[in-house]
Each structure stands twice: as C-alpha cells, then as structure tokens.
Amino acid sequence: MHLIKIGAEARIELVNWGGITCIRKSRIPKKYRDPGLDQILRSRRTKQEAEMIHTAKSLGVNAPYLYYVNPDTAEIIMQRVHGFHLKDGETGKGANLQGLYFKLGESCARLHSGGIVHGDLTTKNVIVSGDDDLFLIDYGLSFFSDRVEDKAEDLHLLKQALRSSSPSRSATVLFNSSIQGYESIQGEKKVREILEQIAEIEERGRYARVD
C-alpha cells in the first residue's frame, strides 16, 4: 500500500488487488460534522461516483474500470490508468496537443449529452494513455444536470485551468480545439449557447480577472 495523496475529501492509495496494482479511493470521515450525517454523505458520494463512472463509460467516455465499491466503508477500488496527465503534456507533445484537446472536447460533449456534468474538468483529471486515448478521471464532484449553466461551468473551469498554466495564446488555441471537439458532437447551436453562458459567468466576475 502506497499513499499517493490525501485530498480535501478522500485518501488515494496504490494497492495490490488480486495481483494487479490498483487505486483505492477512500472518503475520509470528518469529525467536525455529526457522525450520522458524515456516514450518509460519504456513502452517498461513493455510490454516486461509481454510478457516474459507469454511466460515463456507457456514453463512450474512457473512465477507470471499477473492481470494488463499498458504500459503507466509502471505498472504491479502481483501475490505475497509465499515461501522463494532460496538464503535464503541455510541455511535451506540441503539435499533437491540439488533437488531444479536440478529443477532450468530444469526451466532455458525450458526458453532457448523457446529462452528466463532470464538475472538476481540470487538466490534471485527464490522462492520456497508450495510443492517445483520453481517460477522464475523478468523478467525485460529478452530478446529473441538463442545465446549460452547469455544462458551461465544466468548460469554464477547463478554460481557467488552461489560462493559469499556459501562456495566454496557447491557452486560447487549445481551448478552441476543445470547443471544436465539443461542437463535432453537440452541434453549433448548443456550442453557441454554452459560449454565451461562459461569457456571462466571466462577466459575473466569480473569479478574479487575470488578464
């Protein structure tokens, strides 16, 4: 067992599961809240995340294989996806990056078409595996929604993540690649709606302007 990280909500470890190295995600009990509430939240979220991953796959999005789900102990044991984080790819592959971001847009569109909002679509939650296969991981903040505002938030977060880690010109180019990928699945009308909503979110100034 090898601890990878402890986030705000869960502990991520590498474990040996029947001879395979897997990821165990355990939601940590929080002492500050009522124990009954704590158990309900951790259990509910474990089930929800497992459900989301399953539904994502049925929509054609690559997501980790689930080996074991226990809502009572709030544990999920899932496939360890090999590859590099899209975030780290920024310094690497150059010309291929646009293709990868196009695929990311496609994957996001597929999720949205099934009414799933990822909720944490940053480049550290996208793993490029093998033959440029894109895996979307960490569905801990995912939820079901058909609202344009929620879908726009997904892409807005991606835009923010790009902006804060890349020089502004490449951030724009890469984001546009994602938008094109999204459009290829969802169509022009939906994309325009989302772009307008993103503009409104930015206008509202929820996040401080960096430009």
């Binding site: 309900i40 939240l41 909720g119 929820r206 401080a208």
Partner: protein, 304 residues
C-alpha cells in the same frame, strides 16, 4: 442601532430614516468618548458599499459633509474589506484564506497580486440570510442569528438531527433548499429547537466542507473567519475541528467586532489612508453591489 419589528427584516427606508436621525448624536458621542475634537481627525472614512442604497447614501452624505466642512480627506471603504481588515488586525493573521460570513456575504476569498479572488461562495442565500429568515419565520426579531443559536443549543441536547438538503458544489454552497425544507419541517410539527439545531449542523457542515476544499486548493496555512456570523460558537467549533485536523491556523474575529461596526470601516480606512488613497469630498460615491473581486486595490474609485 436600527431595530426591525418582530418577524420582519430591515426596511431600507425606515433604516435610513433612523440613520439620519441618530447620526449626529452617535458621532458626537464617539468624539466625546475618544477625548478628541473633530479638528484633530486625520480623515473621514465611510462605507461606500455594498449594502442598502438608502442607508449607504445617508452615511456617505454625513461623511462627505464632515469632510468638506472640516477640510479632511474622504476615504470610501468597501464594507467586506472592512470586516477583513479588522479581522486581520485583531487576529494577527497576515495572509489567510478569508471566510466572510454575514447577512450580506458568504464567501471564501484570498488576496492575490491582482486583487481579491473568490474561491467559493453561496449560490443563493448568505448564511446570515438563512439564519435570519428562519428566525423571522419563527416570529423572532431581526437579526435572529443569536436567537437561532440559542434554540439550536437546546435542540442539540435532545440530539434530534433531522435530515435536510445538503448542497455543496465544488467550493460553493446553496442554502435556499435548506431554508424551504426547514420551514416545511416546522409546519409539520418539528420543534423550533430541533429545526434550528438541524439547520445549523447542516449549513455549517456544508460551509466547513467548502472551506476545507478551498484551503486544500489554495494550499493556505491559515484561515480568518470574520463577519457577523463569526460570532456563532457552534460554527467556530466546527471550523476549529477541521483546521486542527489539517494543521491550519484558525483566527476568528472577537464576538463584539464580528457584526457591522464602525471599527471595521476605520480599520480598512486606515489602511487605505496610509497608502495615500483618498478622494475629494465631491468624489464621494456609493455602490450598492460591489463584489469583493471587483475591488481595485490601487485606487479608491470603484472598478468594474
């Protein structure tokens, strides 16, 4: 202080009328207790927003009149920054993540080079509004927060936690569903104590979770809690527990300075004045909606 009639909130026109009637006496009393003369003052600071238009206007007019009559610089202050500056002064925390919780605000903010950045906030009601509206629904007078806290403490003894909507989206919280459900519970027969206890446990847990996420995201080692609801002991205890587990230093503003007070405007005004930021009385302004992340750090004019 303006007191709203039981079961209702602050009426802007009535409150502003009250402010214009008492401002002269309040200022005179403050000057006398400080043992100075108006001529000794270095500057006049006032809350320029956000807040209720009519009330802000009275404050601005009084400040502007004083400043121009006594020939003193005028320093317009953002109300939220007032809470934050006073909190920083009193707790000694230097660069904390800020949890600002009051009737007018529920936000997690951090100071960056370009300005204040909001890491998380309420998607609808502020925590102060949630508690106050629940209290008003119970027929209590506004601000009802302290009364709800008392009811909740009693409810806690019976240990009867009732299930309510828990809504956290990333670093944001949403309280409107919680309020509706709470009112429904009470109308169906649950006691005020049990409902208050449950509302607090749920609302505070939601906020503590959002705060923990923001702290992890920003990798901040200290947390400042300020604004009226910082006076709630149960919330402070929850945040204390979370911070202790994370090894984060917690600073909660002292109870008597948590709610709206002149000191917060003075504290922020002092900071601005020392940086040479002031205006001619003729340029005094108010801004009813003035988001923290739209405050221009380099000047006293409203931006955005």
């Amino acid at each position: 202080m303006y007191k709203a009639p039981e079961g209702s909130g602050i009426h802007p026109r009535e409150a502003s009328r009250h402010h214009s009637q008492v401002s002269g006496d309040v200022i005179e009393k403050a000057i006398r207790e400080a043992g100075v003369a108006i001529g000794d003052l270095d500057f006049v600071a006032y809350s320029a927003g956000p807040g209720l238009g009519p009330c802000l206007r009275i404050g601005a007019v009084v400040a502007r009149s004083l400043a121009s009559y006594y020939n003193k610089p005028l320093v317009p202050v953002n109300h939220a920054i007032g809470h934050i500056e006073l909190g920083k002064r009193l707790t000694g925390l230097e660069d904390p993540m800020v949890l600002l919780i009051s009737g007018g605000h529920t936000a997690l903010a951090g100071l960056q080079k370009e300005g204040w950045r909001i890491f998380g906030e309420t998607l609808d009601l502020t925590l102060g509004q949630l508690l106050d509206q629940l209290g008003r629904y119970f027929g209590l007078s506004s601000p009802a927060g302290p009364a709800i806290e008392k009811l909740a403490a009693t409810g806690r003894e019976t240990g009867q936690l009732i299930s309510l909507p828990y809504v956290v989206k990333g670093n944001d919280v949403s309280y409107s569903g919680l309020l509706s459900a709470a009112k429904e519970l009470h109308s169906r027969g649950s006691s005020r104590e049990a409902v208050s206890y449950s509302v607090q446990e749920y609302a505070f847990a939601m906020l503590t979770e959002a705060t923990e996420r923001a702290l992890a995201f920003a990798d901040n080692q200290s947390l400042l809690v300020t604004g009226g609801v910082a006076a709630n002991q149960r919330l402070a205890a929850m945040l204390n527990e979370m911070c202790a587990e994370r090894g984060v230093k917690l600073g909660v503003i002292a109870k008597q300075f948590a709610g709206d007070c002149g000191s917060q405007i003075g504290a922020a005004g002092l900071d601005l004045f020392h940086r040479g930021l002031k205006v001619e009385p003729i340029y005094g302004f108010i801004k009813q909606s003035w988001r923290l992340d739209r405050v221009n750090l380099g000047s006293v004019s409203p931006s955005g």
